[in-house]
Amino acid sequence: MAELTADSLHAVATHDDHGHISEDEHNSNMKLGLWLYLASEIVIFSIMIVGYIIFRINEEDIVAQAHDELGVALVTANTFVLLASSFFMVMGLRAMQQGNRSGMLRWIGLTALGGIVFLGGQYIEYSELAHLGIVLGFDDASAWSTFGMRFYAPTFFHGAHVFVGVLWALEVMRRGAKGRYDNNPIGIEMFGLYWHFVDVVWIMLFTLIYLV
C-alpha cells in the first residue's frame, strides 16, 4: 500500500457515473426494504393476535357460542377469495416477466377485485355480528362483554391492510398501463410481496380466530 498515490485513491467508477445506482442494486434494495417492513408487520399483528388468543383460552364458552352463531361458510368463502387473489397476483407478475402487459393488467385487476369481494364479505360478517349485539367497546350488559374488541381489532386491522392493498393494486394497474413495468417489474413484485403477506396473515387469522 505504500506506493498508493492520490490518483489511485479513487477507483474508476465501476457501475455508474451519474449518481444513480444500478437497476440490480435498486431492485435488491427495494426487496430487502419491503421484507424488513413485513418483518415489522409480523410483530404488530402478533400483538393483535395475542389479545384474542388469551381471550380464547379464558372464555371458551363465549367463543364457542360465537362460532356457532357465525358458522364457517361465509368466512371460508372469503378465505378462498383471498387465496385466489393471491394466485392472480403471482400470475400477474409472471405475465409481466414474460413481457405480457395486457395479461398482467388482467390478472392484477382480478387481484383487486378479489380484495374488494373480500372486504364486502367482511362487511356482511360485521353486519351479522352487529345484529347479534357484538360491539367494539366494552359492554357490561351484553353477554358478549369483551368478545367484540378481541375479534374486531385483529380482523379490522387486517381488513385495513386489504383495503390499502386494493388501492395499491389499482395504482400498479395505472402505472403498468403506461408501460412503467415493461423493463423492470420490481414495482409489481413489491406489491406482490405485500399482497401475499396479507394473505399469509389471513391464513393464520382464519385458523386462529374462526377454526381453533
Binding site: 442494486e25 426494504g33 424488513l36
Partner: protein, 555 residues
C-alpha cells in the same frame, strides 16, 4: 473525472436548504440533528422546572401534583422520543453512507419522509401539554394512562405512534444501506464500527418498535373507542401493557446507547491513534447486546410480575452486562499506550466511559432482586437511567458532535470552548446525578413533588448542579453557531482518520464522492506505514478542497 479540480468548488449548502424538503442524506442528517437538539433544549427546560420545584419540599412552583406529573411525563417523552432517538438518526444519516462510500441512503425519499414525520409528531405531543396534559409518565402505565388522564394522553399516544413509524422507516433504510451498499472492497468485517452499531440498533428498532405500535393502537382504542384491553374492570389485563411496552422499551434502551458505543470506538481509536482493540468482538458484542436485549424486559416489572419469573430475568439482565463489558475493555485496550490527543471529542468519549461504567454497575445492582426491591421507585433508579442515558448517550452525542462537526460544516469547533463545555457538563452531570443514588437509598421516592424535608439539603445541592448542567448547554450552542461562521477551515481530514467519510471534502459534495472511493484495508489500522501513506494521499487529493470563507459561494 478531474477530482481535484471539482473538489475545490465544493460549497456549503445554503441555510435555507435545511428548512426545505430534501432527499440528500447530509441535509436530512443536519435536519434531524438541529431538530433533536431543539427538543433537547425543550426537554432540558422542563428538567430545570422539575429541579426548581424540588428546591423546597413543598409545592410552590407548580399549582398541583398533576402539573408536576405532566412536567416529568413530558420531560421523559421529549428526551427519549424526540431527542435521543432522532439524534442518533442524525449522525447515522450523515455519517453512515459516507463511511460506506455510498452516494446516498438506499431510499432517499423514505429518509426524508421519516424525518418530516417528526415535526407533526412533536407538535401533537407538545400540544397535549396545552389541553389536559398526559400525566402517566413516559411509560404510560394503565390505568393511569386510560382512566386518569385527559386528552393530552390521547395526543401523546398519537405522537408516539408517528415517531415509532418514523423510527421503523429510518431503520429499514439503515439496514438496507449497510447490508447492500458497501463498496466491493469492504466486507462486513472491515466495516467501521459505527456502521455495526447502527446496524444492530436498526435491527432492534425494526423488530421492537412494532410492539410499541401495537400496544399504542390498543391504548388508543381503549381511550377513544371504549374498549377495555388494559382495564381490569372490563375484563382487560393491566400487565399486558407493561409486558408489551417493555418488549419495546427495553430494547429501545439499546437503540439509545448502541450508536453511542459505536461513536466511542471511532473517536477513541482516531484520537488515540491506535487500532480498535478486538474489532470483531466489539462488532459482535453490538449484535449480542441487540439479541440479549430482547430477553430482559421483565426486570422493569420485578415488583409486578409473578415471583417465579424474577430469577430468570435477573439472570438474563446480568448476562447483558457481558457484551457491554467487552466493549468497555475494548475501549480501555484501545486507549492503552495510545498517543492520546485531548480534543473535546476525546474528552467527552472519556467522560462517557467513566459515567457509563457507573450506570452499568448500578444496572447490575438493580438487576439483583433484593436490592431492586429495596430501591424500587426511588431516586436510585432515576440516577441509574440518567447515568446511562445522559452519561452514556448525551456524552457520546457531544463526542460525535465535536468529532464530525468539521465534516458537516467544513469548520473546526473551538477547542477551548469545547473543554470549558466539557468541564461544566462533566461536573454538572456528576454532582446532579450521583447524589441521587444516595437520596434514593435513603428512600426518597421518584415522581413526587412533595418530599420529606429531611432531603431538602440534598435536593438543593442536586438542583444547584442541575442548573450548572443546564447552563453548560448554552456553551455548546454558542460554540456551534460561532464555529459555523468563524471557525477555522477544517480541510478534508483534520483528524487524519482512515474511515471513508474523511476521504472527501468537508462538507462533502452532493454526490459525496466524485469517484468511487477505495477504503483502506483496515478502518482502524493506525500506526502503520501503509496507513500513513493512505492518509498522505487523502491530504494530497483534497488539499485544495476547502470551502470559501463566507461559505456560500462556489470558487
Amino acid at each position: 473525472m478531474a477530482t481535484q479540480h471539482e473538489a475545490e468548488t465544493v460549497r456549503r449548502p445554503a441555510l435555507s436548504e435545511y428548512l426545505r424538503w430534501s432527499v440528500d442524506h447530509k441535509i436530512i442528517g443536519v435536519q434531524y440533528g438541529v431538530a433533536a437538539f431543539l427538543f433537547f433544549m425543550v426537554g432540558g427546560a422542563m428538567a430545570m422546572g422539575i429541579r426548581l420545584e424540588l428546591w423546597t419540599p413543598t409545592l410552590d412552583l407548580m399549582a398541583s401534583g398533576s402539573a408536576y406529573n405532566s412536567l416529568f411525563t413530558m420531560h421523559g417523552t421529549v428526551m427519549i422520543f424526540l431527542f435521543i432517538i432522532p439524534m442518533w438518526a442524525a449522525f447515522g444519516n450523515f455519517v453512515v453512507p459516507l463511511q460506506l462510500g455510498a452516494k446516498d441512503m438506499a431510499f432517499p425519499w423514505l429518509n426524508a419522509f421519516a424525518f418530516w414525520l417528526i415535526p407533526p409528531a412533536a407538535i401533537v405531543i407538545l400540544l397535549g401539554y396545552f389541553v389536559t396534559p398526559a400525566e402517566a409518565g413516559w411509560t404510560s402505565y394503565p390505568p393511569l394512562s386510560t382512566l386518569f388522564s385527559g386528552d393530552g394522553q390521547t395526543l401523546w399516544a398519537l405522537g408516539a405512534h408517528l415517531l415509532g413509524i418514523s423510527s421503523i422507516m429510518g431503520s429499514i433504510n439503515f439496514i438496507v444501506t449497510i447490508l447492500n451498499m458497501r463498496p466491493p472492497q469492504m466486507i462486513i468485517w472491515t466495516m467501521p464500527l459505527l456502521c455495526w452499531a447502527v446496524l444492530a440498533t436498526s435491527i432492534i428498532a425494526v423488530m421492537a418498535t412494532p410492539f410499541l405500535a401495537g400496544a399504542l393502537t390498543l391504548l388508543l382504542l381503549d381511550r377513544v373507542a371504549g374498549t377495555t384491553f388494559f382495564d381490569a374492570s372490563g375484563g382487560g389485563d393491566v400487565l399486558l401493557w407493561q409486558n408489551i411496552f417493555w418488549f419495546y422499551s427495553h430494547p429501545a434502551v439499546y437503540i439509545m446507547v448502541l450508536p453511542g458505543m459505536g461513536v466511542l470506538s471511532e473517536v477513541l481509536s482516531i484520537h488515540c491513534r491506535k487500532p480498535v482493540f478486538g474489532y470483531r468482538m466489539v462488532g459482535l458484542s453490538s449484535m449480542g447486546i441487540a439479541f440479549v436485549g430482547f430477553t430482559v424486559w421483565a426486570h422493569h416489572m420485578f415488583t409486578s410480575l409473578q415471583p417465579e419469573l424474577r430469577i430468570p430475568f435477573m439472570i438474563t439482565t446480568m448476562i447483558i452486562a457481558v457484551p457491554t463489558g467487552i466493549k468497555m475493555f475494548s475501549w480501555l485496550g484501545t486507549i492503552w499506550g495510545g498517543k492520546m490527543r485531548f480534543t473535546s471529542a476525546l474528552l467527552f468519549a472519556l467522560g462517557f466511559m467513566s459515567m457509563f461504567v457507573i450506570g452499568g454497575i448500578t444496572g447490575v445492582m438493580l438487576a439483583a432482586l433484593p436490592f431492586d426491591i429495596h430501591v424500587h421507585d426511588t431516586y436510585f433508579v432515576v440516577s441509574h437511567f440518567h447515568f446511562v442515558l445522559f452519561g452514556g448517550s448525551v456524552f457520546a452525542i457531544y463526542a460525535a458532535l465535536y468529532h464530525w462537526f468539521p465534516k458537516v460544516t467544513g469548520r473546526m469547533m473551538n477547542e477551548r470552548l469545547g473543554r470549558i463545555h466539557f468541564v461544566f457538563t462533566y461536573f454538572g452531570f456528576l454532582f446532579t446525578f450521583f447524589p441521587m443514588h444516595i437520596v434514593g437509598m435513603l428512600g426518597m421516592p421518584r415522581r413526587v413533588a412533595v418530599y420529606d424535608p429531611n432531603f431538602t439539603d440534598w435536593n438543593q445541592f442536586i438542583s444547584f448542579w442541575a442548573f450548572v448542567l443546564g447552563f453548560s448547554t448554552f456553551i455548546v450552542v454558542y460554540n456551534v453557531i460561532h464555529s459555523y461562521f468563524r471557525g477555522p477551515v477544517a480541510g478534508a481530514n483534520p483528524w487524519r482518520a482512515l474511515t471513508l467519510e474523511w476521504a472527501t471534502t468537508s462538507p462533502p459534495p452532493v454526490t459525496n464522492f466524485d469517484d468511487d472511493p477505495i477504503p483502506f484495508e483496515d478502518p482502524y489500522g493506525y500506526g502503520t506505514e501503509a496507513s500513513a501513506a493512505y492518509l498522505d494521499a487523502v491530504d494530497a487529493a483534497f488539499s485544495g478542497g476547502r470551502p470559501t470563507p463566507d461559505g456560500n459561494q462556489a470558487d
